[in-house]
């Protein structure tokens, strides 16, 4: 697992809220793209953690305070759906908001994900505008 430390976002003389984000995807390229998209979208970031599969993602959630998780579905070791099912079994993780970022286009499967508590679904490729809207909808408005 990797993490990237960022300066806490400043607003005038004071500090604004900044978020800890976890990105779970087996592609290092996509993790980098999501991270860069978050920066471009102006999301105030404290820590950005990375995990390459669901198992690593769960461990990271247990070891760190996470505000929002972006996760892929199709991953080796433990896929995104299995990770979400494990989160639901854990009182501390059950309410952690998850946004799926995937190439998946099946309405049936996307509906199943929403039934499991997934907060949003983004189809690759993603844009900063879409990411900004999703983060604001889930974590609340923030100063850019």
């Amino acid at each position: 697992m990797l993490s990237t430390r960022n300066n806490t976002a400043r607003n005038g003389g004071g500090y604004t809220m900044s978020f800890n984000i976890l990105i779970v995807d087996d592609s290092r390229t996509i993790r980098s793209v999501i991270k860069k998209t978050l920066y471009i979208a102006g999301v105030p970031l404290n820590e950005v953690y990375e995990a390459s599969n669901g198992l690593e993602g769960l461990q990271c959630m247990r070891d760190n305070w996470i505000d929002l998780c972006f996760a892929d579905i199709n991953m080796p070791v433990m896929n995104g759906i299995e990770m979400i099912e494990k989160m639901l079994e854990d009182q501390l993780l059950a309410k952690l908001p998850v946004v799926i970022v995937s190439t998946e286009g099946s309405k049936t499967r996307i509906e199943e994900l929403f039934k499991k508590g997934v907060r949003a679904y983004l189809r690759k490729p993603i844009t900063p505008e879409i990411v900004r809207n999703v983060v604001k909808e889930i974590l609340g408005d923030y100063d850019e």
Partner: protein, 156 residues
């Protein structure tokens, strides 16, 4: 061999994903543009399984995979692209193409399981053999020849 309708879908999805994901643009390919110099090629393949089963593969000259990774990641010209990064970018490109392809072919209600993409290195002789096989659709991406194929059969 792919039918005409599948070739058209594959062509359109391929162009669209290259453009949206990597800011690389597709064009029709002339026969003489399939001839490339020496060097090696990379093939990424992934399987799918739903009402039908099969695989999707893309073959690119090694040089284009570096450009692909740099464009997806938004790297500057002086930033190095490591070989593993180039392979990862190619796998992600194929992943995105296949996801789109499944929706275009089977519709939004179908549930399709996808495998993890794998990559391998091909020689120039392998490339020439694929070009002659007629199983691959050949397109021009930013002045580079790219081969892509969809193989599909009834689920067993």
């Amino acid at each position: 061999m792919m039918n005409k309708e599948d070739r058209k879908i594959l062509h359109d999805v391929c162009f669209s994903v290259f453009e949206q994901l990597a800011f690389m643009f597709g064009d029709e390919l002339e026969d003489d543009e399939l001839e490339t110099g020496s060097g090696f090629f990379l093939r990424a393949t992934m399987g799918f399984r739903g009402q039908m089963q099969g695989s999707v593969s893309i073959v690119v000259p090694e040089t284009i995979s570096t450009t692909l990774a740099a464009n997806i990641l938004g790297l500057d010209d002086d930033q190095e692209v490591y070989p593993e990064t180039a392979l990862d970018a190619l796998r992600e490109l194929l992943n995105t193409i296949t996801g789109r392809l499944m929706t275009e072919i089977f519709g939004e209600e179908a549930v399709i399981d996808l495998s993890i993409p794998v990559t391998e290195q091909l020689s120039h002789a392998d490339w020439e053999s694929l070009v002659e096989s007629d199983e691959y659709l050949a397109v021009n991406i930013d002045e580079n020849p790219v081969l892509i194929t969809l193989q599909m059969q009834q689920r067993q």
